[in-house]
């Protein structure tokens, strides 16, 4: 299953680095998916996490994204339709023919 929250500590495969000293809110909202996916370079991850300590509004934005993902998961249909008759017939023919 994918991550819909902050990455595990130290995990940042395929990392992305920003040449800035601090992250603004406008930059943060563009980084949030990479943050969830663990794709930020250590330095940028630190800047993002420092920003979230200081910015309740961006924490709210993270909660928005998490709520959106959670809501999407509720749209999953639990049952697939019945396999098509012709495909089942072909499968049964294999069995009858000894596979």
């Amino acid at each position: 299953m994918h991550s819909s929250g902050p990455p595990q500590k130290g995990h940042c495969a395929g990392a992305i680095d920003l040449p800035v000293d601090e992250v603004t809110c406008q930059q943060f909202v563009e980084l949030v998916t990479q943050y969830f996916e663990g794709a930020l370079a250590p330095r940028t991850l630190t800047q993002v996490e420092e920003h979230l300590v200081m910015c309740d509004w961006c924490v709210t934005y993270v909660e928005h994204v998490q709520a959106t993902i959670a809501s999407l998961s509720q749209l999953r249909e639990e049952r697939s339709p019945e396999p098509p008759h012709a495909v089942l017939a072909a499968l049964r023919a294999r069995k009858a023919g000894g596979g």
């Binding site: 909202v29 998916t33 990479q34 998961s73 697939s80 396999p83 098509p84 499968l91 294999r94 023919g97």
Partner: protein, 220 residues
């Protein structure tokens, strides 16, 4: 059978071997298990190539027929899922060509359009006190008594999902609705991790904005 995204590569290979043997023997239980696990992703991928659910369903059925009748030709050089999806995308491309539709993952770079996650007007400008910080910040959605999305809000979300560009809707569907991993999605669709992430980011951003607009109106 366990979902492929929860297994290590060696475990996938073992599970594949068991599944292939069962299919060759005409094992209906094994087939139904594989079908149920794979159908949602197959339907979403097929639907990204064609104009209607009915044609997407046709593509999925044609693919399964090809899998069942051609399983003896599967040599195990790729994962079973990769093989199934290569058949699916070939079938989908054939149908797509008949409809003269642009393919969803053609060579056009994913980065060709600039699409900010949030309306830039919601942030302070260079001449303001805190450039780049919120001018119109997001408000909390969660009320303790409202944990689950209401039916009406869910309908609104579905409508917003239907309006996403095809590629964004497909990636959001596979990752956030069906719960597939990034690795699985990139493998099945032949996408780079970065391109997949860009599509996911844009799709999620649009849906978040649509939910925000709806929920703030509903709260009035």
């Amino acid at each position: 059978m366990r979902p492929e995204s929860t297994l290590a590569p060696a475990q996938v290979a073992v599970q594949d071997e068991q599944t292939v043997a069962a299919l060759r023997a005409g094992d209906e239980w094994a087939f139904r298990d594989l079908y149920a696990r794979t159908y949602p992703m197959m339907k979403r991928v097929a639907r990204a190539y064609v104009a209607s659910d009915a044609v997407a369903e046709e593509i999925v059925q044609e693919t399964w027929m090809a899998v069942v009748t051609g399983i003896d030709r599967f040599e195990g050089r790729s994962a079973l899922g990769t093989w199934i999806f290569s058949i699916l995308t070939n079938q989908a491309k054939t149908h797509s060509a008949r409809e003269s539709r642009a393919l969803p993952f053609s060579s056009v770079a994913v980065r060709d359009a600039n699409e900010p996650a949030v309306d830039p007007d919601r942030f302070q400008k260079d001449e303001d006190a805190w450039p780049g910080h919120w001018a119109t910040p997001p408000r909390p959605w969660q009320k303790p008594e409202r944990r689950l999305l209401s039916l009406e809000a869910r309908g609104h979300l579905k409508a917003a999902l239907a309006q996403l560009p095809d590629r964004q809707r497909l990636i959001v569907g596979l990752r956030d609705i069906e719960g597939h991993s990034a690795a699985e999605v990139c493998d099945r669709l032949g996408l780079s991790r970065e391109n997949q992430r860009v599509l996911l980011h844009r799709g999620r951003s649009r849906l978040r904005a649509a939910l925000e607009e709806y929920l703030e109106t509903a709260d009035l």
